[in-house]
């Protein structure tokens, strides 16, 4: 093959890279670990260990951001925020893997002080050396060029951007607009500015953000899920206890599997579909390796 035809081939093949990469990945299917345990600490540990342990994701000396959902002034049993035990276990594992610092924060919808307190997360992490539960500060959002489909640029949180490892720890729950809110949507917690604005084309917007701010590890808290009146809930009748924790390095795959817990298919959730189309991960359950931990 001469140089010219090689370049032609290269040019042509780039048109198919998305598909090609996907086919290549198919050989090594993304793994989603599912643990079920009434003890949420054990469950979380099992899920992470099934993926090869936290050491696979966190190197000694890393600064780790653990991003739970602390969006609402609700108690853990109301299933609107990530369970404190799950967050605590993830933070502790990151420390054990050698993290220099673990930072935990979320841009809340209700008053941050109340959310941090009611969710139980502040109390659960209190006194852990090397773990900072931080209130977000306006000046730390900085404009980031996304060049996405709908968002050209947006303000993102500096500590999330500068972290060595970003661990996404959402809770699985119902949402009025996107159907469900899982890992992909949990990323909204590091967005500054007028976040509500992106609701008009939320699927593409979330893909835009997730394409830039990658979650090295996604741990979905499905210890109890909110099946209706999300994302805030409040009524115990809408809460279903599943005792499950889902973990994957592929955020789309994690979301896709979590969807099934609600009796839905991955393609029902347009956020997942948009991210899949953008090549952010796998959503076909047949091409995902499910690991019962």
């Amino acid at each position: 093959m001469d140089r010219r035809s090689f370049l032609k081939m290269l040019g042509l093949s780039s048109l198919f890279t998305n598909v090609l990469i996907r086919e290549l990945c198919a050989a090594e299917r993304p793994v989603v670990a599912i643990a079920e345990d009434r003890n949420f600490e054990r469950g979380t540990l099992a899920a992470v260990n099934a993926l090869g342990g936290m050491k696979r994701f966190v190197k000694p000396g890393d600064v780790v951001v653990v991003k739970p959902n602390i969006g609402w002034d609700r108690r853990p049993e109301q299933a609107a925020t990530t369970h404190p035990q799950v967050v605590r276990t993830v933070a502790a594992e990151a420390l054990r893997a050698g993290a220099r610092k673990v930072k935990v924060f979320d841009r809340t919808c209700n008053d941050p002080r109340r959310c941090y307190a009611s969710s139980g997360i502040e109390a659960a992490l209190k006194g852990m050396k090397g773990v900072d539960v931080k209130h977000m500060e306006d000046e730390r959002f900085r404009k980031v060029t996304l060049n996405g489909r709908t968002l050209r640029e947006w303000e993102l949180y500096d500590e999330a951007l500068s972290a060595d490892v970003f661990i996404n720890v959402p809770i699985a729950k119902h949402h009025g607009l996107t159907g469900l809110t899982l890992g992909l949507k949990n990323i909204m917690g590091v967005m500054g500015g007028n976040r509500g604005f992106i609701h008009r084309s939320i699927d593409e917007a979330l893909a835009d953000i997730n394409a830039v701010l990658k979650s090295r590890l996604t741990i979905i808290d499905a210890t109890r899920i909110l099946t209706a009146n999300g994302p805030q809930g409040g009524n115990p009748r809408d809460v279903k206890v599943l005792n499950k924790v889902i973990a994957s390095s592929d955020i789309v795959a994690a979301d896709a599997y979590a969807t099934t817990l609600f009796g839905l298919k991955p393609e029902d959730i347009s956020t997942t579909v948009a991210a899949y189309r953008r090549g952010l991960g796998e959503m076909n359950l047949s091409r995902i390796r499910l690991l019962k931990a």
Partner: protein
């Protein structure tokens, strides 16, 4: 005074000033649902606040008991509150030494302060309770809440932000120090209030009056001082000698309030005991004697004048602008506007403590008599579903202190969509930020889905919001978070019927 020795009165003053400032700073959410002690304690011992409440509301509440105790103590001991407790008086005492005096203002002498006190009291009797406007504690709390504390908070915060601009994430090494400051001393977020300047100005004027004589405000104007003075006239605790001594006359210089004539005026003596400590001959004594003679009340024409002025004050400011009324949203639990106005001290505590900084002092939205009363402005902040702080700190129960389960159902207003602005209606795009934020478990904002075709011919599901009136409490979070710039696509309007909404599980409110 002997150098280097603090008098008992001065120690008491400083301790109470410190207590006042600590309580003021404690009047904020600091991680606990309930605030054990707040600056409302100072209003609860304030007999002027109690008088205004009793005269206008014409009923009693146990919250006023401490004030009655203080009134009783004043009957026995005289105006000790002014010389031993009042934080405003202490501040004046602390600064007055540095201000050269010009001599008293003539027009303030005599009955001037009764011309302030009596119209306020009579107006209260005619159902317009304005005593808080000139109450010294309220003036101080408002100056702090609306101007000085935000100024302090904003200055520190700007410095902190400035450090970030210089150091970037390196600022984190200083974070522990800043967090201590933020968690214990600073307001959680910067808020700018209307009437900030006026509140500051009134406080400043009181300080500037020290240019003319010591404690000018306390002896010439303060309605609380005047009221306590009326009670103090009956006090059996008397100073001897009751007049200046011929050979000395030092008392005139030592006394902060009473010796502007040659005899001590019982209703002005603040019991600071300055004269006793400073007497060269150890001649001055305070002891219980019989009740002195002399008139107990101001002259009849002042009383009648006060009555007429109070009547006019109560009746001439009753105009209400309907536009302002439509958006007159009161704190949660306030069901009747008239009753609220009678009880509200206008002290600003609810606005200080408001978790989301949703409450602001009214200018003229509630009429002239409603100035400084709290208003919910949803575009600036909303009423947090699980928060009950404003009711806890309200000194008179104008905002009731409700258990959180009840407060969640209290109605402040009702939300209404503006279809000319609301995105799904006006622009045909999805949004539902309001539905997402509505805190009512059964959702007072719901959506109905509709298949629509957008400008590029694509069919999609559009979710259109609507408000369920029976569930809406008017907390204002929907208006607050509406992503439209400027005017919100959903707004909360005042309603007269503020019957609490149903329980979360649907059972009607008992």
């Amino acid at each position: 005074m002997k150098p280097g020795r603090l008098r008992a009165a001065r120690i008491s003053q400083l301790l109470f000033l410190l207590l006042f400032l600590v309580l003021f700073i404690q009047t904020e959410y600091r991680g606990s649902d309930r605030i054990a002690l707040a600056v409302n304690s100072f209003f609860r011992v304030d007999p002027l606040v109690a008088a205004g409440y009793l005269l206008s509301e014409k009923s009693f509440t146990l919250l006023l008991l401490p004030a009655l105790v203080l009134a009783g103590a004043t009957l026995v001991l005289g105006r000790f509150f002014c010389g031993w407790i009042c934080p405003l008086g202490t501040i004046l005492d602390l600064i007055t030494g540095r201000i050269r005096k010009r001599g008293p203002l003539r027009f303030l002498q005599g009955n001037f302060k009764y011309w302030l006190l009596l119209p306020l009291l009579f107006a209260a009797m005619f159902n317009v309770n304005l005593v808080g406007l000139l109450d010294p504690i309220a003036i101080l709390v408002r100056a702090l809440t609306f101007s000085l504390y935000p100024l302090f908070g904003d200055t520190v915060r700007q410095a902190w932000v400035g450090l970030y601009r210089v150091m970037g994430e390196g600022r984190d090494v200083l974070a522990p120090g800043y967090e201590i400051l933020r968690d214990h001393l600073l307001p959680f977020r910067e808020t700018f209030y209307p009437l900030a300047f006026l509140s500051f100005l009134l406080f400043l004027l009181i300080l500037l009056l020290e240019r003319y004589e010591r404690r000018a405000w306390c002896r010439r104007l303060c309605p609380l001082g005047a009221l306590l003075g009326l009670l103090a006239r009956l006090s059996p605790l008397r100073r001897t000698p009751s007049a200046l001594c011929d050979e000395c006359g030092d008392c005139r210089g030592l006394c902060p309030t009473s010796f502007d004539r040659d005899t001590l005026r019982e209703e002005e003596c603040v019991r600071c005991l300055e004269c006793r400590v400073g007497c060269r001959f150890n001649r001055v004594e305070f002891g219980f004697a019989g009740i002195g003679g002399g008139p107990y009340l101001p002259e009849r024409r002042v009383i009648l004048g006060g009555l007429v002025t109070g009547f006019l004050l109560a009746r001439l400011f009753r105009f209400r602008s309907p536009d302002a009324q439509a958006r007159l949203l009161r704190p949660p639990g306030v069901r009747d506007e008239g009753e609220f106005l009678k009880k509200c001290v206008r002290c600003g505590e609810c606005m200080k403590v408001c978790l989301k900084n949703a409450l602001y002092p009214a200018l003229f939205q509630a009429g002239a008599e409603g100035v400084y009363t709290p208003l919910l402005i949803p575009r600036l902040g909303y009423c947090e579903y699980n928060c009950t702080l404003c009711g806890q700190v309200c000194p008179t129960g104008a905002i009731p202190d409700l258990p959180v389960e009840e407060k969640r159902r209290e109605v402040m207003g009702k939300a209404a969509l503006d279809r000319n602005h609301c995105l799904p209606f006006a622009k045909g795009t999805n949004c539902i930020v309001c539905e997402e934020h509505c805190p009512i478990p059964a959702k007072a904002i719901r959506t109905e889905a509709e298949q629509v075709v957008d400008a590029s011919g694509r069919t999609f599901e559009l979710r259109k919001p609507y408000v369920v009136d029976d569930l809406c409490t008017g907390c204002g979070i929907c208006e607050h978070v509406c992503p439209l710039e400027g005017k919100s696509g959903i707004e909360v309007f005042a309603v007269r019927d503020r019957t609490p909404v149903r329980e979360p599980d649907g059972t009607p409110y008992q």
